[in-house]
Structure formats: structure tokens, C-alpha cells
Subunit: 142 residues, 2 copies
DNA sequence: ATTATATTAGTAAAAATTATCAATAAGGAG
DNA sequence: CTCCTTATTGATAATTTTTACTAATATAAT
């Protein structure tokens, strides 16, 4: 039942998926990453990208993000940090880490539940959109 | 382009959707709420439930939640509070509000972005699952 | 080299959500 | 109340995102 990360094999596909994700800071979706991986491995399948992203995140090599867009995004940056989504251009930015242990402890204290994780997503308007309102979504996306 | 909440009509379907959501604290998905609404209005369509949940949340009458499950949930409780998802039984619990202005200001200060919103979702193990580990998912869901 | 099995490509299917459209009904004007 | 505009509905199709299936292949241990 439990997935065993020690029994995974170092396949070429999995290496390319991880390596390609590490090359970007754009927090791509599975489909977006698939397009990039295809440039290196034209015969790779979308299912393989999905499967490897799932395995890599389960095994703690990458992070699976859900910023409330109805699809998942992935991030190979593993040091503690937060994410910010610009509501105008849709870009996802990294934000430096802000300690959240206090909030988690407070939540645990009030609920008596065992709080093991916290998902924080910031949203607002990014520098580019603040300074240049006339750029539309298409022009600044990705 | 911008949706105008003042031009909406008070339809029977919209009223029943809102009223039904207000009757529960289970944070139902659109599909789950559809089943409940059908008991009062057997001929209502799933699309109507989706559409009204979208309109009601856009107009600030309910809250749309995304706790990273790959589907949206809805909440008619409008006072400030947080959400906790039990990773064992899947239930969503309300948690009292914990002030988050400090974190938002810190994020804005570090990024120089305009931070307008923050999504926080806690996860862990709830009281019921902590105290009674042998209950499985099926038994305790909903 | 042999072997066990994790993984793959390709495809189908599932799940969640959105779009389409003729028919209906809300709500304002007269 | 009646007429009229148009927001909304039910029914269904289509889209989007993700997962499942399967025979063939590749990985890594023996």
C-alpha cells in the first residue's frame, strides 16, 4: 500500500524530468513540463511525466504546489520558501521563507489536533504588473 | 468582461443552493452539494449548481476553498476562520481565526509586491482519528 | 548473461469543470 | 396586470486535468 522510495529505479525519463524542472523557476504544471521534456526526449509520454512528478514529490525530491487554480504545479527548489501568485499576469513567484511554526502551534493548541503541515499561498499584484498596468495577460505570461 | 453582481436575479435555484450550503459544515464539493440540492429540487442540473456556486463566491456570499485535493469545496461560513484537513479521514474542519496580517505585511515588505490575499490550509490528524485509529476512511467520511 | 520487476509509451478512461443553446422565468417598464 | 428584455435554467456536449491499463522495455541485482 505504502509507496517505497527505495525501490525506485533511476530511469532516463525520471532524470530528465527532474533535471528539466530544476532548470526553471516558473513552477510549471505537468503539461507545461511535458512540453519542455519533449524537446529533449520527443517520445516521452505525458503519463510518464505525471507519474514521475508524483513519485519525485512523494519521495521528497520536488514539491507539489496547489495555488487554487484547479491544477497542480511543481517546484524543484527545496529550501523553505513561500509562493505568490499575481492575480493579473498569473505568474508564480518565490518568496523568502517566513517562519510559520507559531501559527501551526497556535492551530494545534486551539484544535487539539495534530498539525503536521501548513499550506500558504500569497496572492496580489506583482512588481511588473504594478509598474506597467498596460501589459496584458498574454504579453507577460510565462 | 467584469461580472456584475448587481445584475443577478434571485432565482429559486440560487436560493436553494445557498440555503443548502448554509445547512452544512461539511465543506461540500460542487457534486456533493448537487446531491443535497437534488433532494429539494429533483430537476436541478449539475451545471446550475456549479454556476451558482461560482456566482455566489464571486459576489462574496460564500467562500470557495481549495485544499489541494484537485477539486474545489465551498463554505457558507463567512466570518474569518481557517481550515484543517485530516489526512486520515479526509474531513475538513473549521479552525478559529488566527491573525495573519503580520505574515502578509512581511511578505509584502520582502517582495515589494502588493499582497491582497493569503490562503492558509492546515493539515494533520484530527481528534477522531487520533483517538480511534482503527476507524477507516469509509466509516468516518462525511 | 539471466532474471525479476519497476517503468515506459500509447491509449483509454475517469473526474472535475466549463461551454453551448433553445426554452424558461425574473423583474422592471408601461 | 401585461409586455418585454435578458439573466438563468436544464440538458448535454466538450474541455481540462489526472489516473488507469497493458504489453513491451529497461533497470539493477544475482
Amino acid at each position: 500500500m505504502e509507496f517505497d522510495c527505495k525501490n525506485t529505479r533511476k530511469t532516463r525519463q525520471r532524470q530528465v524530468v527532474l533535471e528539466t524542472l530544476k532548470e526553471t523557476t516558473a513552477h510549471p504544471t505537468a503539461d507545461e513540463l511535458y512540453e519542455e521534456v519533449r524537446e529533449k526526449m520527443p517520445r516521452v509520454s505525458l503519463g510518464t511525466v505525471y507519474r514521475n512528478l508524483e513519485i519525485l514529490s512523494t519521495c521528497g525530491e520536488i514539491i507539489k504546489l496547489d495555488l487554487g487554480e484547479g491544477k497542480k504545479r511543481f517546484d524543484a527548489r527545496m529550501d523553505p520558501h513561500h509562493h505568490f501568485r499575481c492575480t493579473q499576469c498569473g505568474r508564480i513567484y518565490d518568496l523568502p521563507f517566513i517562519p510559520v511554526e507559531g501559527i501551526m502551534q497556535e492551530a494545534a493548541r486551539m484544535s487539539h489536533f495534530k498539525v503536521t503541515g501548513i499550506q500558504i499561498g500569497f496572492e496580489g499584484v506583482c512588481d511588473a504588473c504594478l509598474g506597467n498596468e498596460k501589459k496584458n495577460t498574454k504579453e507577460v505570461m510565462q
